[in-house]
């Protein structure tokens, strides 16, 4: 085989030789003669005896694999062009956090390849990522592993790839769909839903754009350095128009998420993130995802709630505080929590306003404060986030670098109190399948719990999704917020048992509540909010007068100095 594939002649196994060799092995194993022509047949995967030692050896020598590049099979690629990748070995040493689930099964299947030879020549060119479908392949083979390792040989390569894809499709629908997302540049369903909701929060019309400045604010909250954000923008804004359409937005968001998880940004946009690809892909999941339907219904309500919550943030206190929250991230925790509480309280208030007050008022206030929306919503979400401390810490830490680990992104990932609001729940990289599954199960259970509570969860979701960003913005204040978080979580989850608690204001909003309770709660909330606003106003008024005083004094001084100067000037001129 070595001779046939040309390695002997060349003296080493380059990718071409390697591919041919594997194909030949497959051929030999299925009884075909070892000749170049036999490569052209459709061959089953070559079977390799799984040796744990070997896998370790391979783990230990990633270096030799680094020189070899492989092309990433694209999800949409034809079966024929399914390129084989050896990545398994390279990947595993690269991503140690690969969960235990994956690695043991990985060793036997590591050697399994989908030997499609043609096009191997292309593998050297235009290479971007080295993750990708090989993982899919491997994982699908993992799944097969248990039941029928013997079947491998029986399936033709084509069938294998279809099987992979179908398996991955199946998995998508199951909880373990996280496995499908081995390709870090592929967007899974939950991710997509989340991104779509985020998009909605910024721009209600899914078919139109998010302007540059809006997107900038949004992504700045993720606390990535500006140059990186700039690069992400460059990658995702394919038509270079300064605005993001939905697929562009999803791609950008996904890149941000990936970067937060420690992935290096690619030089060019991976195919799976191209707008055309995303748009094509987006049609399908939209149909499948039942959650999405509930989204669409409840969205208007949720959206409204959020918008109205903005209007409440008319108090000067809130805006500067919120902005400070966003900007420093080092705000005094207590105060932050207070603000959050007022923010939360204002939500039920809003609701009442919805029914009681004229909408015109709200919309005016709305217009007057376009900025505050981001602040307020983020603060709310912040509180929400606090509430949703998920029980299990993810194995994530291994993967991260400091920022990602400290960053609430991690928490966010797990926080999935509500299915709709899957937070930054993105499938973290192949690295951490268990986690996504955890959050996935959470998600699923949430969905079950709130089958009818579409409305409330949706607003909460809107809020919380925006909040996630704030949480992102405030890693340092995490510990203090935790309390608030757990409270909120305890409250939210299921009953809308409204308590006078700060966080209760959110559940209190749920329409399921009897109107009375709701109104009394809201009244109380309104009153406290009013009080707080008054206090804030008083403080600011005082501050204002003091500053005015100072200004006057400074003016006087200035005038004095000027007159002195005038007096002195004629002297110097002479």
């Amino acid at each position: 085989i070595t001779e046939v594939c040309g390695a002997k002649r060349v003296g080493y196994f380059g990718p071409a030789q390697f591919y041919i060799a594997l194909k030949l092995i497959a051929a030999a194993q299925s009884g075909f003669p070892v000749r170049i022509e036999s490569i052209k047949n459709e061959l089953p995967l070559p079977r390799f005896v799984a040796l744990k030692n070997d896998s370790e050896v391979r783990y230990g020598t990633p270096a030799e694999l680094h020189g070899v590049k492989f092309q990433v099979p694209q999800a949409a690629s034809e079966k024929n062009s399914y390129k084989r990748t050896d990545e398994g070995d390279k990947q595993e040493p690269k991503s140690p956090p690969m969960s235990p689930i994956c690695s043991p099964p990985a060793s036997p299947s590591t050697y399994q390849r989908v030997p499609l030879s043609y096009g191997y020549g292309k593998s050297r060119t235009g290479l971007e990522q080295q993750h990708g479908a090989p993982y899919e392949v491997r994982h699908s083979t993992h799944q097969q592993d248990g039941p029928s390792s013997g079947n491998y040989g029986a399936k033709p390569a084509l069938a294998c790839s279809t099987l992979n894809r179908s398996l991955s499709a199946e998995r998508e629908q199951q909880d373990s769909s996280a496995h499908y997302s081995d390709d870090p540049w592929r967007i899974t369903e939950e991710q997509r839903d989340y991104y779509i909701n985020q998009f909605r929060s910024l721009q209600p019309d899914l078919n139109s754009f998010i302007s540059g400045s809006v997107a900038k604010n949004f992504f700045t909250k993720s606390k990535l350095p500006i140059p990186e954000l700039s690069h992400i923008w460059e990658l995702s804004d394919v038509d270079c128009d300064g605005a993001l359409t939905l697929p562009e937005f999803c791609a950008a968001f996904h890149l941000v998420v990936a970067r937060k998880n420690g992935y290096q940004l690619p030089e060019t946009l991976p195919e799976t993130l191209l707008p055309e690809y995303l748009q094509a892909a987006s049609l399908k999941p939209m149909c499948d995802c039942t959650l999405f339907d509930s989204y669409s219904e409840s969205l208007p309500g949720g959206q409204q709630a959020r918008e109205f919550s903005r209007t409440e943030k008319t108090s000067a206190e809130e805006v500067p505080d919120n902005s400070a929250l966003l900007q420093d991230g080092k705000k005094d925790d207590k105060q932050g929590i207070q603000i959050i509480s007022t923010a939360l309280k204002t939500i039920p208030k809003e609701f009442q306003h919805l029914t009681v007050k004229p909408a015109a008022q709200e919309s005016n206030a709305l217009k007057a404060r376009p900025r505050s929306r981001s602040y307020s919503s983020t603060s709310i979400e912040d509180a929400m986030k606090k509430g949703e401390e998920p029980p299990t810490p993810p194995p994530r830490p291994q993967k991260s670098h400091s920022r990602a680990s400290s960053l609430d992104l991690n928490k966010i990932f797990q926080q999935n109190t509500q299915a709709v609001r899957s937070g930054w729940l993105p499938p973290p990289p192949p690295a951490l399948p268990p986690r996504p599954s955890v959050s996935q199960t959470e998600q699923v259970s949430e969905v079950e719990l709130h089958p009818q509570m579409n409305r409330p969860p949706s607003q909460a979701e809107e809020n919380s999704s925006a909040k996630k960003e704030v949480v992102l913005a405030q890693p340092p204040s995490k510990p203090a917020r935790r309390k608030l978080r757990t409270e909120a979580q305890g409250l939210e989850t299921p009953e809308l048992s409204p308590t006078i608690n700060v966080t209760s204001s959110l559940p209190a909003v749920k329409p399921h509540l009897p109107l009375q309770k709701q109104s009394s709660k809201q009244k109380r909330a309104i009153q406290t909010a009013i009080r707080k606003n008054k206090e804030a106003n008083a403080v600011l008024a005082r501050l204002n007068s003091e500053l005015q005083q100072q200004l006057k004094e400074v003016h006087k001084e200035r005038i004095a100095l000027e007159t002195q100067l005038e007096q002195l000037r004629p002297v110097t001129v002479l």
Binding site: G212, A215, K216, F219, I226, H231, E234, D237, D241, E267
Partner: protein, 141 residues
């Protein structure tokens, strides 16, 4: 082939937003050349009057004893200047080519502007821009 491309921001600062040259030695000399050529560019701008032509040529008869090179200039409507220094021995470069190169530069520059994370006046760190400039320079050399 000494080639240098630079983007200089609008007045009054007139500092370079981006400078790239091949080969990289003697870069300082190129920087100096660019700086001096700015004066000539400004002169031409003011001489133009109201009707500001988009594309302008600047041919400097600067001939040093050891080497000669041509400096081309281009100004956008927002007074952002692009300066290109090429070796005189590179006679293969024609006017049209220079114009097309400037046009490409201008397009890439507008793409950068579209990026909301870019503040006008910042140095240009865009990778897309870099790759475009590199490919252009490869073409010339």
């Amino acid at each position: 082939w000494p080639v240098l491309i630079s983007v200089i921001c609008s007045p009054p600062q007139n500092y370079p937003l981006y400078i790239r040259s091949i080969p990289t030695e003697n870069e300082l000399k190129f920087h100096y050349t660019v700086h001096t050529s700015l004066d000539v560019v400004d002169e031409k701008i003011s001489a133009m009057g109201k009707a500001l032509v988009d594309q302008r040529e600047l041919y400097l008869g600067l001939l040093y004893p050891t080497e000669d090179y041509k400096v081309y200039g281009y100004v956008t409507n927002s007074k952002v200047k692009f300066v290109m220094v090429v070796d005189s021995s590179n006679t293969a470069l024609r006017d049209n080519e220079i114009r097309s190169m400037f046009r490409k530069l201008h397009n890439s520059y507008t793409d950068i502007m579209c990026n909301p994370f870019y503040n006008p006046g910042d140095r240009i760190h865009s990778r897309a821009f870099d790759s475009m400039v590199n490919s252009m320079m490869m073409q010339v050399c």
